[in-house]
């Protein structure tokens, strides 16, 4: 797979404050990459540097094989950027707003017209195409922002907090759109602090803290690293007191918690349902229900920062 975006030792300083500290990042074609971290961790600054909208203090960036600081026009023509809290000219219609951007991209009128209609239709805005944007909801604006990007036929889309401020339904729709784009082979990088949403769409995530990328990889790999597994298995079984002990002896089970009279929650390194079922039966219990839950990014995140805090206290 070829590399769409590569950053090496990327650093941004504002006076003494280091906003981004020696960031290394590689994104391959067709990937959805999630940049995670609390507010103020340096996510937006990183994105601005990747786009050439602000100059790095040190380090290098290659986007689509180009340096955004030296060839900003080529980079910006091929990369779509959806800023957080995207704004439009409220008095102009959706179509007029996009027409201006199309002109800035050097598209001729005919080509632009066709692309605008296609993009707006794809985003479900064909009904309101000629309405002033002032009356649009947040979700519609967000989709209009995405329509603007699609109109450019980008190879890479960078989104900053795309689901922030959307109601749950609009957020879900938006994530659906991201999945669609991914299936079309467009590379996407998005930043967010809403972890469950990121987990739902990202192939790989990077955890950002105080300007540093502290963890990076697919969600399940991270879960194994940080949580030592991160799977949760809920067992409902009737049996004697030996059941709990039997469950904790299953290989790969890290912790057993009693969640009710006949309920146990196991923390495991993987999906161990068959082994757990066997253990219950072998211990003479009656298995009533068994459910497994994949690792949760939120937990990875919480656990990681908890560990960090403990380290800091110990040191």
């Amino acid at each position: 797979m070829d590399i769409v975006l590569e950053a090496r030792g990327l650093t941004k300083r504002y006076g003494d404050f280091v906003a981004v500290d020696r960031l290394d990042l590689t994104i391959r074609r067709g990937e959805v990459f999630g940049l995670l971290g609390p507010n103020g961790a340096g996510k937006t600054t990183t994105i601005l540097m990747l786009l050439g909208l602000t100059e790095p203090s040190a380090g290098s960036v290659q986007v689509l094989g180009l340096d955004p600081a030296r060839q900003p026009l080529s980079v910006k023509a091929r990369v779509g950027y959806l800023p957080d809290q995207v704004g439009f000219y409220d008095t102009l219609s959706a179509r007029e707003n996009l027409a201006y951007i199309a002109r800035l991209n050097g598209l001729n009128r005919k080509e632009a017209g066709a692309r605008i209609e296609a993009a707006l239709t794809k985003m479900g805005l064909e009904e309101v195409m000629d309405k002033a944007v002032g009356a649009f909801s947040r979700g519609m604006r967000q989709r209009l922002g995405l329509a603007e990007i699609l109109m450019k036929h980008p190879e890479l889309i960078i989104m900053d907090e795309p689901t922030l401020g959307l109601d749950p339904e609009a957020a879900r729709e938006f994530l659906e759109i991201i999945r669609d784009l991914r299936s079309e082979g467009i590379t996407i990088m998005l930043s967010s602090h809403l972890l469950h949403q990121v987990q739902a769409v990202c192939d790989r995530v990077g955890l950002f803290s105080k300007g540093k990328m502290v963890l990076e990889g697919p969600v399940d790999v991270l879960a194994r690293e940080v949580l030592g597994g991160g799977y949760h298995i809920t067992v409902e079984a009737e049996g004697d007191a030996g059941l709990e002990a039997a469950l904790s002896e299953v290989e790969g089970v890290q912790r057993v918690q009693r969640a009710g009279p006949n309920r146990f929650v196991l923390e495991t390194t993987g999906d161990l349902r068959p082994a757990v079922a066997r253990a219950v039966v072998e211990a003479g219990g009656q298995l009533l229900a068994l459910a497994s839950e994949a690792p949760n990014l939120e937990e990875v995140y919480a656990r990681y920062f908890q560990k960090e805090a403990n380290h800091a206290r110990a040191a």
Partner: protein, 332 residues
């Protein structure tokens, strides 16, 4: 000067030129901004104000001028310069109307985009900031020129109707120069308004700052220039040389104000009998026929430094705004 941008990054990056023309997308910006201006309510209000003053002053001026039709070679120019209590002459109105129009057009050029959160979307397109800023400036300049030209034609038309005398060739030429001068005067205030819109995030603050500057030059600068001249060139014994030095310094200082430059140049263009904008000693007037008009070329030469001064002021303010805008980090 405008095409280069300093890159604070590593030496290698600073040495390379930027890719492509800095003016990519310039005309897209200009046409969009002009369309915005021309359809805005703000524009309508400004046009109403100016048309009212134009009509008002022309009607009073023509009422006076009709008495003297046929006696004056430059009758048409008088349309612009004749005042009748309580209304000042049209040029007198322009001195303070043009800055207000210009500031009203430019005060939210940059911060308006920031507040509407459209700026980062714009800058993510394949254009440079150069094109955005210059495009906005040109759009406001063209709009201002359009308004001023309309009013100019309106006055000429009203004058034709009311006076019944068409303007001569030289008068037309003088009036065209006057129009150009007025646009140059407006450009200074446009550049100032735009600078304020870069400096201040709130459009209201930017408008207030620009208007305060205008007020300063309109009301206070003349007074300050007088006081400064008295301090720097005091009249100790009362020699004519001392008086002259003080008056000359006062005039030089007062010319830092665009209002003064515009007024003086207007006088040179629209009152052909004016031979000098500075001080004339009786000895220098020997052999002169007082009241005889200067040829057009000479009148233009008289106001030329003022015009150049106005253009230089515009460039200076624009360049300052340009540097600040290039360094601004756009996060929203």
């Amino acid at each position: 000067m405008l095409a280069q941008r300093s890159t604070p990054a590593s030496g290698a990056a600073a040495a390379t030129r930027r890719e492509g023309s800095p003016w990519t997308g310039l005309w897209a910006v200009v046409s969009k901004e002009m369309a915005d201006y021309l359809s805005s309510t703000r524009m309508l209000i400004l046009e109403l104000i100016t048309v009212l003053t134009a009509a008002g002053t022309v009607f009073t001026a023509t009422a006076q001028l009709r008495e003297t039709v046929g006696q004056d070679r430059f009758l048409f120019l008088r349309l612009f310069t004749t005042s009748q209590e309580p209304l000042p002459a049209f040029v007198g109105f322009l001195v303070f109307l043009v800055p207000i129009i210009a500031i009203a057009l430019a005060f939210d050029a940059v911060n308006g985009e920031l507040n509407a959160r459209t700026m980062s979307r714009l800058l993510a397109q394949p254009i440079y900031r150069d094109a955005l800023l210059l495009g906005k400036f040109l759009a406001s300049l063209f709009t201002l020129a359009l308004v001023l030209t309309t009013i100019w034609l309106l006055i000429a038309g009203l004058g034709l109707l009311r006076l019944g005398v068409p303007p001569g060739g030289e008068e037309t030429a003088r009036l065209l120069w006057f129009l150009l001068l007025t646009i140059a005067y407006g450009a200074v205030w446009l550049a100032l308004g735009m600078l304020a819109s870069i400096l201040f995030r709130q459009p209201a603050t930017a408008a207030m700052a620009a208007l305060a500057t205008w007020l300063f030059f309109t009301v206070f600068w003349g007074i300050i220039a007088g006081i400064l001249a008295q301090i720097l060139r005091p009249v100790r014994i009362g020699l004519p040389a001392e008086l002259l030095a003080q008056a000359q310094l006062e005039q030089a200082l007062s010319r830092l104000s665009p209002n003064v430059l515009y007024t003086e140049a207007t006088i040179a263009l629209l009152r052909p009998e004016v031979r000098s904008l500075g001080f004339v000693l009786p000895s220098q007037l020997q052999g002169a026929i007082l009241g005889a008009p200067l040829p057009l070329g000479e009148s233009i030469m008289l106001g030329w430094p003022h015009m150049v001064g106005l253009i230089a002021g515009t460039l200076l303010l624009f360049a300052l705004g340009y540097v600040l805008f290039q360094r601004q980090e756009i996060r929203a």
